[in-house]
Symmetry: C2
Subunit: 199 residues, 2 copies
Amino acid sequence: MEYFPAALEKLVEQFARLPGIGGKSAQRLAFHVLSLSEEDAKEFADAILDAKRTVTCCPICRNLTDGGVCSICASNKRDASVICVVADPRDVVAIERAREFSGRYHVLHGVISPMNHVGPDDLEIKPLVERVSRGGVEEVIMATNPDTEGEATAMYIARLLRPFGVRVTRLAYGIPVGGHLEFADDATLMRALEGRRDI
Amino acid sequence: MEYFPAALEKLVEQFARLPGIGGKSAQRLAFHVLSLSEEDAKEFADAILDAKRTVTCCPICRNLTDGGVCSICASNKRDASVICVVADPRDVVAIERAREFSGRYHVLHGVISPMNHVGPDDLEIKPLVERVSRGGVEEVIMATNPDTEGEATAMYIARLLRPFGVRVTRLAYGIPVGGHLEFADDATLMRALEGRRDI
């Protein structure tokens, strides 16, 4: 049974396809769009098309960019001898927010995950190896997530980069700042003990 | 600080304006759009524009329609002598789902709410009074929500319709089917006792 006009039903369907949006939320969002002014609705639709059309990957680091080389790769203030490898463009934002890292990035756009049929060839690993092979890189920091897949991806890439003689490092594991020992899981505590440092 | 390409930031902003969508969710949705194929993104954008362009209000009952008179007002199987007045097009869907009502509807598109600066003139009350004044209507069922504003709106309209001599009724209050007496609030229990019926 269909109670809403077809165009509205279609919009509800489109919203319902988005991740984390259920049927009721999709309906609420579609009604919100109807309540927008003509210009606001057009602006929303244009934002979707513009993002899809203009956002591309940086030819060097594969991070998202408006076209051409990204601002980090283009900046001569960023140390080109250190590359931080992350799985996702959002991870670049997270690391930039910490204001600690002054090197460059490489975005893999995923991690190796046999369960989800993602192999090394589905990721931006080849461009990374080529970057390192061209020389000038001294350290590659593997900053994939500390889960099984992120770990496996880091190990896989570390092995690939071994012939080039660059230093390959991994983010430190340990108790998160502001966390409680009481609530830390066993694996984290073990790693925190393993990685203990002199004061 | 801006880390994402401008077009992506703009899309995140657009999503963040939607009701119930926070910053993190907006980011997730925007990234999902980037992962769509060119055609799927276009389909999404078109759905927004189409819904906004083609969905209008039925000239008779003010319910949403694809244009022209809505299917319920156009159907001669629906009893034109009974009008069910609801606040929102979604309420029409809810009542239709119950498959109990065979009359027609009138959608107010809101309720009188001085707190939100919504007065009677901001609602579709005048078209309802005109419908009733043209005759042929025997009963008007006030099916606004059972809260203060819904109640006040129902009372306001009932008073407006009194001169036309139609029967104005209100949905029954009581314990919801499948509910528990234990969890019913005092007001509901009071109304359920007041409205008790012979078995």
